[in-house]
């Protein structure tokens, strides 16, 4: 422990709620959350960590037991473990729990860390056609190639899938077939499924030290509940897909509820006396972790999200995570009535969520692959994690640690979630909504028709403006011009400035003239007609003229400006200048 590396010391500062009890980066533990359990294996009040170690995935599968900081015992497992649970199977004193390790189609039960019982899943129905074909092969009525063709025919059509033996046979090279048939033809064909997940269910009492049944999910989409002592199948239920994660609550003899996340991306909730799922939650992406917290289900999904659902399948909330979820576990501290969800992420962090609020973040030196919270040794609040690199991390929750419910993730302020005092709905409002609901189609049509009319009217006006060159921008390809006009002065004389610009890329414009149209009783202009010089593209040409207002009755009119081209009667551009009223200075 004196060799705790520097990085661990640094992280302890970041989250001062946890004490770093132990870190062994080379503990050689390769496992997942489904394969670890905390259990008082010897009934002495000193909880041990039981790990189903997957080793390299090919060899070195071991059942390891840790006590304190050291390895207490290890025994070899025959096959890869898929799940591990600790449960009390009888009422004998001393009350030492048994360990059940699921691997392949078997459950190995250990008592006092010694092999005690091996349960095998019932074998499945074999396709009679397949059986016939093999018996023919046995009597050497057909040669290996015919056998292969017939098996392929069965594989493509039959409802009952082929046995592992036939599938293996189909993969073989032709020269190996003869030997394979010879080796296997005398053994009966068996078809067996494998266990995908395992859990426990109290038999008839809710106490912590009550006898529990084993609940197993199989590749064949079935759920079995086993008797704790005789290991007979008490109950069988079917699912639409293969279960991957399972949570069981309740008591077998009273009422229970099994929440199963399946490989088809759905969560099914099974209850006592219902052989089919009672509720179904359809997820938007595949589940990677399932935790039941009180009456709610929290699911981590591949889309880097965490969803909360009620036990009837109603969605409560969604939290967005910074990285992919690697594993999840429940953090239950009954002494403080505290429950939270621990979510290990691929960015070397473990997040603690209470509802959708992130209440604590723990940084780890490596990616956590399995996580477990509970009583370890004599300490109730211990967090055990194993990492991708085979390390073991033990953290202890401080006695004085307080988790405030405030969300530590950045987000909208709390004020935003305070309910506003919205006034009651008036009768008028209710009537209006009713009317809207009843006549929705008619209203939508009327709106769409008016919208079309409006668009038509706009388009017509636009076309008309273009045709009569009423716009201040000319779009004609030979004379692309732009003009705007500014009126300055208070009156009676005004200065009128016209800014003309040639918007063409490189072509100059020539032979342009400007004329004004105005009421001669109201205004007089020094020159009502200009000739415009050559317009260089891109430059702005200001043209000034002066307008004298003749009336003193405080009225004003519009002066029209036309940009003309020599030899054409239609103007290129038209601008309407609203003249201001004159403000005579009283001298």
């Amino acid at each position: 422990m004196s060799s705790v590396p520097q990085e661990m010391k640094d992280t302890s500062v970041a989250c001062s709620k946890w004490l770093d009890a132990h870190y062994d980066p080379v503990a050689n533990l390769y496992t997942f959350t489904s394969c670890i359990a905390l259990s008082d294996l010897h009934g002495d009040g000193d909880n041990k960590l039981v790990v189903g170690d997957l080793g390299t995935g090919v060899c070195n599968m071991k059942l390891k037991v840790y006590r304190g900081t050291g390895l207490l015992s290890e025994s070899t497992l025959l096959d890869l473990p898929t799940g591990l649970v600790s449960f009390l199977m009888d009422l004998h004193e001393p009350r030492t729990p048994a360990v059940a390790v699921a691997s392949g189609p078997f459950i190995y039960v250990y008592k006092n860390l010694r092999p005690y019982f091996k349960f095998t899943l019932p074998s499945l129905e074999v396709n009679p056609l397949e059986q016939d074909v093999w018996s023919q092969a046995k009597e050497e009525m057909i040669d290996p190639m015919t056998l292969k063709e017939m098996l392929e025919g069965i594989r493509d059509k039959a409802e009952i899938p082929l046995s592992v033996r036939s599938l293996r046979y189909l993969m073989l090279d032709p020269q190996e077939m003869e030997a394979f048939v010879h080796l296997h033809k005398d053994q009966p064909i068996r078809r067996q499924t494998v266990i995908t997940c395992i859990g426990t269910l109290k038999k008839n009492m809710a106490d912590d030290d009550a006898v529990s049944c084993l609940v197993i999910g199989t590749e064949n989409s079935d759920i079995y509940i086993l008797d704790p002592e005789a290991f007979t199948i008490l109950c069988k239920m079917s699912l639409p897909s293969t279960p991957t994660f399972m949570d069981v609550t309740g008591q077998f003899d009273v009422e229970f509820r099994i929440t199963v996340a399946c490989r088809n991306g759905n969560i099914y909730i099974l209850r006592r006396d219902s052989p089919k799922p009672k509720y179904c939650i359809e997820l938007s992406s595949h589940p990677v972790g399932l935790v039941r917290i009180g009456r709610n289900v929290v699911v981590g999904c591949t889309h880097e999200t965490l969803h909360g659902y009620t036990q009837k399948g109603k969605k409560l909330w969604t939290a967005y995570l910074p990285a992919a979820v690697t594993t999840m576990a429940l953090m239950d501290l009954p002494a403080r009535a505290f429950q939270a969800v621990l979510v290990a992420l691929a960015n070397c962090e473990v997040h603690m969520y209470r509802d959708k609020n992130l209440i604590c973040t723990i940084k780890t030196p490596d990616v956590v692959t399995s996580i477990c919270f509970g009583r370890y040794g004599r300490e109730d609040g211990t967090l055990l994690m194993t990492t991708k690199g085979g390390g073991l991390i033990v953290k202890i929750l401080k006695r004085t640690a307080v988790f405030d419910d405030k969300d530590s993730a950045p987000g909208p302020p709390i004020a935003q979630s305070i309910r506003l005092n919205v006034p009651k709905k008036t009768k008028l409002y209710v009537d209006q909504t009713l009317r809207e609901r009843e006549n929705a189609v008619a209203m939508h049509r009327a709106f769409q028709m008016d919208l079309s009319r409006l668009r038509l009217a706009t388009a017509r006006a636009y076309v008309k403006a273009l045709e009569s060159s009423l716009t201040p921008v000319s779009e004609s390809p030979t004379e692309p011009l732009k003009m705007n006009a500014v009126v300055q002065g208070l009156g009676p004389s005004f200065k009128l400035t016209l800014n003309i610009q040639n918007t063409a890329a490189c072509r100059p414009v020539m032979n342009i003239a400007i004329s004004f149209l105005y009421d001669e009783n109201l205004y007089s202009m020094k020159t009502a007609f200009f000739k415009i010089p050559l317009l260089v593209p891109g430059l702005n040409y200001p043209i000034d003229t002066f307008v004298e207002c003749l009336s003193d009755k405080g009225i004003s009119d519009v002066i029209k400006v036309f940009v003309l081209r020599e030899g054409r009667s239609a103007p290129l551009l038209t601008a309407h200048i609203n003249m201001p009223k004159r403000h005579d200075l009283t001298l």
Binding site: T69, A335, R378, E379
Partner: protein, 186 residues
């Protein structure tokens, strides 16, 4: 105080009263240590986990000890601080075999040393690195390193390895404590 008590204390016949707090995590051996320090005819046979706290009294060479044997269980540890004010000395017991919870022992010790009733007092602290009989027990030196005892500058402290079941190492510690208390009183 009665007239007789006054008389005896004036004559120096009555022993000095010392309140000692016995602290440490659960299952570290506090009650066993106190039990060993009691006269042999008053010793209990079976030691059960203490609930809340228990008060034990024993006399030793001129001093009358009143020991508050506090429960070390997590849920009772918040009781400790209520007795800090009355304590004249502290015995802190550590399970040398429990490497995992050494951090918890350190955390509780740090909380104790930073408590306002303790922080500015020159209160002697005696550490027992208990359960030395265990095969994988840490040495007293390692325990003191793990608890960072060298950082305690303003209080006299002493650590001794002990085996409370056999009673080894206890007397050495208690003698150090007596010396400290005498030095403090005079």
């Amino acid at each position: 105080m009665g007239l007789f008590d006054k008389l005896t204390s004036w004559l120096g016949l009555k022993k000095k009263e010392v309140n000692v707090l016995c602290l440490g995590l659960d299952n570290s051996g506090k009650t066993t240590i106190i039990n060993q320090l009691k006269p042999s005819n008053a010793q209990a046979q079976d030691i059960v986990p203490t609930i809340g706290f228990s008060i034990e009294k024993f006399k030793s060479s001129g001093l009358s000890f009143t020991v508050f044997d506090m429960s070390g269980q997590g849920r009772y540890r918040n009781l400790w601080e209520h007795y800090y004010k009355d304590g004249h000395a502290i015995i802190y017991v550590i399970d040398s075999g429990d490497k995992l919870r050494m951090v918890v022992a350190k955390d509780e010790l740090d909380t104790l040393l930073n408590h306002p009733d303790i922080k500015h007092r020159r209160i002697p602290i005696l550490f027992f690195a208990n359960k030395m009989d265990l095969r994988d027990a840490l040495s007293a030196v390692t325990v003191s390193q793990l608890l960072c005892l060298e950082n305690i500058k303003d209080k006299p402290w002493h650590i001794c390895a002990s085996d409370a079941v056999k009673g080894e190492g206890l007397q050495e510690g208690v003698e150090w404590l007596q010396d400290q208390i005498r030095a403090m009183k005079t």
